[in-house]
Symmetry: D4
Subunit: 146 residues, 8 copies
């Protein structure tokens, strides 16, 4: 049984590659999808396609429309969602993706550092499972096939 | 990840072939579906199958029933909808298809000329992305795979 | 049993007052709601609330966002939708409202002039009832209570 | 037509009272509901009801369960959601409530300061309307009745 | 707790009045709604409103559209559906209403004579309760309040 | 694009084989599914599996439970439903299957003889297309691929 | 804001009266509904209405059909569900009602004794809140209004 | 037509292997999935992944979160659910899985011993089919392909 897993979270570092490698090591038949991870492209995609916008507000709005279309398509194709929260950034997109997973009935694994326990308590309570490391999340995925 | 994209819009010219060729050029794994594009067949299909009708009203009603069945099947199979509005025609079917995509949660790209900005503002506001050219719409599709 | 009926359609003339008066004459316990009917206010509401926008495109987008919020609230409160199509205008908002009613499972009555039979055939085929005059639409509403 | 409006957002200061007073001044027939605004009570409610927990993590989890039950009941009763983002705090609960409103089809007004335009661009793009002040949000509510 | 009960079934005799009287005798706070029971009006309503149609087929189609709008409004307002099958007639409308109740999750009571046990076995199996007399159906309604 | 089509209708004669052959002749990539067509097996399946029942009523109820499980699985797998009404039998199962298709949003083609126009008018009005012969139904299917 | 709360659980003792009294003491505007609590009536209702059945199996099946209709009506009217598990009985109906609440998105409070922690861990994990006493459940209800 | 069948029920003995072997013997193209059947692993999985918990309560809660994620993924992939109730254990998870199947519209076969007829009457009444042996359940599956 093949599964598609959506990897929500910030776009810094290579954490998604770590996830993919760990999944591959365990031989899990999982395809991973995710939001656009090239930060500059993600910010520029609106003007790249629609042309120059009047100011930064509209530049952002144009980019977000296209990013949202992309993530909507990909999340609708997914069976499980993993949302990684780091110790930096506002991470509102990650929160939005995680909440959408909950509302769509898609099983959700949250990865978050200890220092966010308090601030994320309500979101974490709605998730299926909350862990602290990528390895733990992979173990949860592996358990589906155990 | 293969996607099916429904191409709503008028049935004049060969714009759908342009879309397909552009998608193929970019190597996108996309299958395109669409309403019946042979206008005469679309208008005649009711009488072709059900026989002569009492007058033009019922001729139209018979054709529309069969066209609606066709488009319902195809839209339910689609992951994304593109709706092209030209500078002519009432384009109520295009509006109907676009609105149905919105209501079904299917991501929607609208292509419309500048002169329709005002008349289409509420519909455009509900779409995921509104662009002005076919090339821009293809770029949005390509971005899903970027 | 009180019903709420949403009156979709253009904002010219006083056709909604005609509907309300006719309903009152028949003693129907119906509350009517509808999109913003003051055209200038509808176009200006974005800048009225959000301040001046960079150009006409963004002026329209700001207004449409607020108009869409308003109509979404009101349509969700409705039991029946009447969509009136006149012989002028693009009437894309009317089409969008009518299609939304269909997709939400809200019973839909279309009023349209004879000259639009062909152009509206697919939309009309999906509506519950299509009539040509306001009086006929009122008779349909009255029949719910007959 | 009475409406119920859910006020998502941080629990510091008296901004919800400002909203209620402004709505009352305009004579809007609106009932407001919201998450628990007494911060200490919100944090302690788990142990208040369930007794002492093993540590802070479980104290938080107990409280969040009861807060989530409360907000779920209230949001399901609402017709519109307003989500206020300030210039401090992580505001993940506000994001979660806003996203839930989007996913439930409940019309959403976001209030956020200019400095968050970039960080909130995807969420803002999915909202119906985004404004910068409470007064603007009240004007949007008033427009429903205009 | 007031309930609305939809009475599906043929339009011959006064069985719905028997139901209403029995419910009133037991003091049940129930409002009853139902399809148009004046058979002639039900058949003529299409031409009454839309004018003369080309032939019997279109006369029937016009009437059915308006009858369907009416019953859709009323069933959406209902909490329980009772479907009475007699020993005559095709009763396809009754079957259609009963099946719609099942699919909408509205609790369904079927009343049918013994001679239809075999022919209705699959429909009956999907209903919540199947009884043989109106009195039994009223007892089921009364049990909700017991 | 392969489609699955559910063939609702009576189980007398070989009309489903006619449909399959006609579809094959046209080269349509369609898989057909349908209720149990061996009438005796359909009636006996309850006792075959569950053992002898107290009387005919319970024999029928046992069979219908298993038949309903079977058809529910198959209809959920289908993209289009064809419901054939002949000139005999009550055909309540056919009506139930047709109504379920309507309620599930699955496009529905009804085949019915002229003599049933009046009795089936409301059901026919809710179907996407109503035809009189199997050949016409096949032409509608072929049109999806035209 | 008035709420309706469904009280699932065994029908022994007077625990539901305790709940109602405690709610009244706190002045909560809550209406309580629940399954049939007269055990003998609950078991006999099938034969009471449908007449004598062939054996105990069919006596039970007849009763359960009517009990299920009753509870379905009442749960659909509810805003919150409380499920009390005692230290005796199989309590499968309580489990069924609790799970239905979860699946319908109705907020769920479970009351269960400590000795069932292990056996109920998966169900408890899906509930919004799990407590050990009726008083605690009432406190959760009161917190909705706090 | 391949089907996926979810096997809910206790994790003692090898009854799932019996089901799989019987299905294979009949040549049914069915893939079976199920909850974690290694009881010790199922109880320990929370601490295995999340580390030691404060006490048994939290050990159970951690395990149940991961078990629920697993079963949610698998049930969403299934076309039919079989729930086996034995003569021992509380079997609340089995009840929860069976009820979830009912609420999701997934056809449900219950296997239960005669001594549970009374205690399970309401759940059984909501299932599609209730049988007493595994062989009978397999016959029902085979009938889908008959």
């Amino acid at each position: 049984m093949e599964l598609t897993v959506y990897l929500a979270g910030h776009v810094h570092g290579d954490w998604r590659e770590v996830v993919k490698a760990a999944s591959k090591d365990k031989g899990l038949p999982i395809q991973f999808v995710h939001p656009q991870t090239e930060h500059d492209l993600s910010d520029a995609i609106g003007e790249n396609i629609l042309g120059e916008q009047p100011n930064d507000f509209f530049r952002d709005d144009a980019a977000s429309a296209i990013n949202n279309l992309r993530t909507t398509v990909l999340m609708q194709k997914s069976d499980v969602v993993i949302a990684l929260f780091g110790d930096k950034y506002k991470q509102w997109n990650t929160t939005m993706d995680a909440t959408t997973a909950i509302n769509l009935g898609k099983p959700l694994i949250i990865i978050r550092p200890k220092e966010h326990i308090h601030a994320m308590k309500e979101l974490s309570n709605k998730a299926n499972v909350t862990v602290e490391t990528i390895d733990q999340a992979i173990e949860v995925l592996a358990y589906i096939y155990a």
